[in-house]
């Protein structure tokens, strides 16, 4: 839809003129309905975490809390590439408009509309030692994946990735649709094979989408831990003790607010780092024009 409407033509003058009575109201008044909740539930809480978490930061340096930080980083580092890969593969395999692909797209997307807790609960059944996957799990050397640190961690990654694959697929489908057809045609005319075309034309042109999916997947990995509550409760022996899960247990089960504040600060620092990487490019309009 790029260029269809006058995107760069500022509406401002016209609107200010049209809504002259309201136009005299300073613009910031219009931002209050969003600004006040932002202040009360985003800025000030973040500030509070910084102020209360910082003096307690020494609490971070014990085995369990450092483990939690390590698990969070590992979880994010593993979830992101899998999400990108699966989203891309799904989009490539399911692009186009025949009935079968439409159906499979719906199938891949459906976990997105489900509560993570319900989606995860199905895996309790699938992964139990006597469950339907026991033969294949045994072949992998995982008799009871949820009872084994490594297996539990992998399970949490798999559930986290599969839950959101549909949405990443959607971003890639939109990205594929926006590829300039001339370039793909030119590649074909030059006799480039499918793989060559993908590696040298499609993939580089998709890099804005890949960046966007990477950011979203990292954000998801840092803030969605619902499946951990259902599948592993942080265990076994801390193998899935994500920072956010630990913040919950420390803060709301052990009422150890200083430790929870220190961990919250750690999580906020990770999120801020992500924002610093992502914001400049997101603002330049990485994603397609809706």
């Amino acid at each position: 839809m790029r260029g269809k409407l006058s995107l760069h033509d500022p509406l401002d003058k016209v609107l200010t003129q049209a809504l002259y009575k309201w136009g005299r109201m300073p613009l910031w008044v219009w931002l209050l309905p969003t600004g006040i909740p932002l202040l009360a539930f985003t800025y000030l809480p973040a500030l509070r975490i910084a102020l209360e978490g910082f003096p307690a930061l020494s609490k971070l340096f014990n085995g369990e809390n450092l483990n939690s930080l390590k698990i969070t980083l590992l979880y994010t580092l593993l979830t992101v590439p899998f999400s990108v890969l699966l989203g891309l593969l799904a989009a490539l395999a399911l692009e186009g408009d025949n009935r079968f692909r439409q159906f499979v797209r719906a199938l891949v997307f459906h976990p997105v509309v489900l509560p993570t807790v319900a989606f995860a609960a199905v895996f309790l059944y699938l992964l139990n030692p006597l469950g339907p996957l026991q033969a294949s799990l045994q072949a992998l050397g995982l008799q009871n994946p949820l009872g084994d640190p490594r297996g539990a961690f992998l399970a949490v990654v798999v559930v986290g990735v599969l839950k959101d694959t549909g949405i990443y697929m959607l971003y890639y489908l939109a990205g594929l649709q926006n590829l300039p057809k001339e370039l793909l045609d030119a590649a074909r005319v030059d006799g480039a094979g499918r793989l060559t075309t993908f590696l040298y034309v499609t993939w580089p042109l998709l890099s804005p989408t890949t960046f966007f999916v990477t950011v979203m997947a990292a954000l998801g990995a840092l803030r969605n831990v619902d499946h951990i509550f259902i599948l592993t409760k942080g265990g076994p022996v801390g193998a899935t003790d994500h920072l956010l899960y630990r913040i919950y247990t420390l803060g709301f089960e052990y009422f150890d607010f200083p430790s929870a504040a220190a961990l919250s600060l750690t999580l906020l620092v990770l999120l801020t780092l992500l924002a610093l990487v992502a914001l400049p490019r997101l603002e330049r309009g990485v994603h397609y024009d809706a």
Partner: protein, 287 residues
């Protein structure tokens, strides 16, 4: 084999049967992508509609609705649905106001003010309420709003996604339309209600769907805020129910419960697939 025969095999010469095979072969990748999701959905349906005894023995048992009935009575589902609906729709109503005003302003701003406002709103994406459960809970406590659906909704009143979606919508309005309305002597209110809002309706709809799905499914923040059983939302009710069913290895019950919890959104998705897909694609934000 003759050259002609080879050509048939490679599908260069159109022979209907082979062409169909070729077409089917092209769906193989799609099939591979489908498999894990098909297996998931399949096993869930199997477990939900098979007696638990058979499920545990891994048998294909007789079809039964027992699991669904039992799941329905093990948690107060009518109340859970009602609370969830109250929370999600009530919140949405308020959000429609906040995202429209914010989107409208962001579309009108220019220069330094715009950059500041952009950052101020956009930063919420990276400081999501789920990462701020600790201080936000303390705020609610100070306000005396813990264990209420109102308290549950407060941190979500402002929405960066929504604000930017609506900004996009307002910016796409052709200025000629507004000018024409001015020439016709429309009042500001009329311009807003008759010209601007109808034109951003698709954006409002897209935001609504995404917001409904997100909050309908939400778990962690409700777990922090809500204590009394009669205030619980679906995801909470399901989690406590799944916990007891898991210890009894009642997989049929868990699958049936998951179906009950997911049903409204799955049904909506089946009915309005296109709207869902477009809404989620649109809300993939563009600065």
């Amino acid at each position: 084999m003759t050259l002609k025969g080879l050509r048939y095999l490679t599908g260069r010469v159109g022979r209907p049967g082979l062409r169909r095979v070729g077409r089917l072969l092209r769906e193989v990748p799609a099939l591979f992508v489908a498999l894990p999701f098909l297996a998931l959905a399949g096993f869930t349906l199997y477990a939900a509609f098979t007696p638990t005894a058979s499920v545990n023995r891994g048998e294909v048992g007789p079809f039964t609705l027992e699991n669904l009935k039992l799941a329905w009575t093990s948690a107060d589902f009518p109340r859970l649905y009602l609370n969830t609906a109250l929370f999600t729709f009530g919140l949405l109503l308020l959000q429609l106001f906040t995202v429209t005003t914010a989107g409208f302003t962001l579309a009108r701003l220019s220069g330094v003010g715009r950059d500041w406002a952009f950052h101020a709103v956009l930063i919420q994406l990276f400081l999501p309420p789920s990462a701020l459960i600790l201080p936000n809970f303390l705020t609610l406590k100070a306000l005396g709003l813990t264990d209420t659906l109102t308290g549950l909704a407060l941190p979500y009143l402002a929405s960066a996604t929504g604000a930017f979606l609506l900004r996009q919508g307002f910016r796409q309005i052709p200025r000629e339309l507004v000018e024409a309305a001015v020439v016709d002597g429309a009042s500001p209110w009329q311009i807003m209600v008759r010209v601007l809002l109808p034109l951003v309706r698709p954006h409002l709809a897209a935001f609504s769907l995404v917001s409904l799905v997100y909050h309908w499914n939400e778990f962690l923040w409700p777990l922090v805020v809500l204590q009394s059983p009669e205030k619980r939302v679906l995801s909470l009710g399901f989690a406590s129910f799944a916990r007891s069913a898991e210890s009894g290895m009642e997989w049929g019950l868990i699958a049936a419960g998951a179906l009950l919890v997911g049903a409204p959104m799955l049904l909506a998705f089946a009915l309005f697939q296109r709207a869902f897909v477009e809404s989620f694609a649109r809300s993939g934000l563009k600065g």
